[in-house]
Symmetry: C2
């Protein structure tokens, strides 16, 4: 049963399992104690810190273990923001950061801080110049992920780090997705990661604060972990996490190139999906990306229904579609990229994924998409472009008077209903879609781009919004 | 090799180990995901929550898993304090709470809140009336531990909870030490606990917030655990923690009474130590206390040296002496109780401790204490009381002019030097001890109480302080 959601959580690495078992016997005591069980625990903790530091490329005394990647991000951000409070209170981050960064930014803003969000292009990448432009005298911190967790796009971390260094501003790199694949190069100041993304157990995050970075831990005092992570440590999990990371690095140095192999499988999906499934948009940077992750969106498809179809067929994947989020809004990453969010599927391959499973996924996917579309009454063939209507472009832009009311109906219905009527709209005339679904704001323009129709804009409406589309083809 | 420090961390319960192994295979995925691995993880999480809730006596939806007991305390305190901010900003807590409570209180005070510390008596117990008196109109929260982690004294939680309920003030009970022994009775509002104290793995705390308690989680938003504990959960550890707690409860209901058995062993230590070791003070309430924990202090003994002696003899215990803390100050618990802090030993017996090991401890201890005292040049026999000096009480209180300079020397030296010279002081006259050691402030008065000498008080000195003692016997 292939599990293709390594970006959420990877299954435990066998080395981690073994290390965990050993540490449960040897490392359950308090490493701060002076008796033998405590000394034994301390030795294990010190060794784990050295191994993890070696793997991420820092000194052991720069590395703190936290209860999760989210804790590492929060502690890292607030620690730098507080230490640099007198210099300034501006926080700069990309629009596609992990929610842990965005939520910490909200707290910072609520406390009177300033937040500058740097936009991304359609591949999900920030322009390094845009980050550099956002660096003001009052900038306390820049946050940039090494690679995106939803679409796999790598960010220009090294270049941004150089800009930051020049400006004397610390850069925090959320490396949760990339650390399994190697250290993050460049002159970053703070780095965070999460062990359960690399086959470590849950319950372990990494917070690295480079020497020389001003840092003031926030929250109640605690002597453990240099005062940067309160509470009794999770030593068995820490030992297991470090062992798994060391094993990955050792395999990458001496064994076959697993990253390259997975990259090949992902390439197969990137190329295969658009051939096998009509009306699909593969998103994310095609080259500068994580080796194991690929994301695509399927027009006229309900993301949750598609996930269920794939689950029934034995494939575990995730989705950034609005219907799969508790807030019923599409993923902020897809929104920031301006790409289609409906029928979104993220495939992230764990270590050791077999090529045969990827092939089987490509066999199963088209039928899964087809059956979901059928359920939504999507015509197998859309009216061929330009075939209906007047056949003549209207000399003057005109409104067709056509209004498609999809109020109360969720993604992908608004886009499906638009597709159904576009053939009736005279070329050059407009059609208005009424929708109160959050995904429509993103998916109607995305549909227009895919179909070469013109998205005119959004108008206020009594309920929801009115999205105006001009037929061009 | 007997480990007698269960109050720091208990070894993993065999049931927890088994559950952990199973959950590593079945519960590594994200329980928020819809695919089969996620659903399986969700089932495990739900079952663990039900088991833990049952064991602490709450509803499953009132219970949140946190990364540690410390996280539970911090989240619980700040959640209530924020929600009741408009009512008032007074926090009331006992003087002997765990450091996690005290450090959160410091943050609260630094942010403009008010903190009232309720004193304890020589047994370490608060008077319920004193807590009731501290409840003002502006009281937002009361924090009271169920039992003390250093001396084992139980607090009158049920009575304090009744006062709080009457006053409409929520009570947070830090139940870290008592939860292994049973649910906390009474009308408390918030309860916290820590799994590694009951044989669960580290990495799991419990935060219970009773329905109807105003609660506003602080820090960055997170959808997990009702928004009360951010970050990817530590499911395998949570499953193991719940399994261990359930196993303890089942054993307590059907098996032999382990609490009563350990209470017997502790009784043996409480009675035996003062018989076997001269100049020992057993501290904590003799009756209303935890079943497995006993603490005593040995006059003229360096706590760290004694711990080393006991460790060499195969016994792992802890200490609240200043020399065993990184800050070189005695435990705030012993200080609040006003008892001797030097040569302090806490014995906390894990489940299944064998009676023979306790007997062996009682055999080893006297020699360990003797050898440490010898190293510090403590005379085997102190001058018998009243035998030296004038033999006649001075008619008028007078200063002997004797000054003992122990500046730069640490506990237990100041008290030892005082004991050495007291015989030379005329009855009714005073002797002054100069000391810059934090423990002297506590241990010189404690010595006076033990020796029936009069502690006159403390005077300012150029360096450290001058402690004045009047010879009475």
């Amino acid at each position: 049963m292939p599990y293709f959601d390594a970006a959420s959580a990877a299954p435990l690495h066998p080395v981690a399992r073994e290390a965990l078992l050993a540490a449960l016997d040897e490392g359950w005591a308090d490493p701060a104690r002076l008796y033998r069980e405590g000394r034994r625990a301390r030795l294990l903790l010190d060794a784990a810190r050295e191994a993890a530091a070696d793997a991420v490329g820092c000194r052991p005394d720069e590395l703190t273990f936290t209860p999760s990647g989210t804790h590492a991000v929060h502690s890292g951000m607030f620690g730098v923001l507080a230490a640099r409070r007198r210099i300034g209170r501006r926080l700069v981050h990309s629009a596609v950061e992990h929610s842990s960064v965005l939520h910490a930014a909200e707290v910072h803003a609520a406390a009177g801080g300033t937040v500058t969000e740097v936009p991304v292009d359609r591949t999900g990448r920030v322009a390094q110049a845009a980050v550099a432009d956002a660096l003001g005298d009052d900038t306390a911190l820049v946050c940039l992920q090494s690679a995106n967790h939803e679409v796999g796009t790598e960010q220009p971390v090294q270049e941004v780090a150089a800009h930051c260094r020049e400006a004397g501003v610390p850069l925090l790199v959320d490396a949760a997705q990339s650390v399994p694949w190697g250290p993050v190069p460049g002159a970053w100041s703070v780095l965070t990661a999460s062990a359960h993304k690399w086959g470590g157990p849950p319950g372990v995050g990494l917070l690295v604060v480079r020497k020389g970075t001003r840092f003031a831990p926030q929250g109640p005092l605690d002597e453990r972990e240099s005062g940067r992570s309160p509470g009794f440590g999770n030593l068995p999990a820490v030992v297991a996490a470090a062992a798994a990371l060391r094993a990955l690095r050792a395999a990458a140095e001496s064994g076959p190139d697993e990253a390259a192999r997975l990259r090949g499988l992902v390439e197969r999906i990137r190329a295969g999906v658009p051939e096998l499934v009509p009306d699909v948009e593969v998103v994310g940077d095609p080259v500068r990306r994580l080796p194991h992750l690929v994301t695509f969106s399927c027009l006229y498809v309900d993301g949750e229904a598609l996930l269920h179809e794939l689950d029934r067929a034995g494939f575990s994947v995730s989705s950034g579609s609005s219907c799969t989020s508790s807030t019923l809004t599409p993923s902020h990453v897809l929104r920031a990229m301006g790409v289609l969010s409906e029928g979104n599927v993220r495939v992230s391959l764990p270590y050791g994924t077999e090529a045969a499973d990827v092939e089987r996924f490509l066999t199963v996917l088209p039928e899964a998409v087809r059956s979901v579309r059928e359920r939504f009454g999507v015509p197998a063939q859309e009216p061929s472009r330009g075939a209906a209507g007047t056949g003549e472009p209207a000399a003057e832009p005109a409104a067709s008077g056509l209004v498609v009311d999809t109020l109360g109906r969720r993604c992908p219905v608004p886009v499906i209903e638009l597709a159904k009527v576009i053939g009736e709209v005279p070329l050059g005339a407009t059609v208005t879609v009424l929708s109160d679904d959050a995904a429509a704001r993103q998916d109607i323009p995305a549909w227009c781009a895919m179909r070469e129709q013109e998205y005119v804009g959004e108008e206020p409406a009594e309920r929801g919004a009115a999205y105006v589309v001009r037929r061009r083809v």
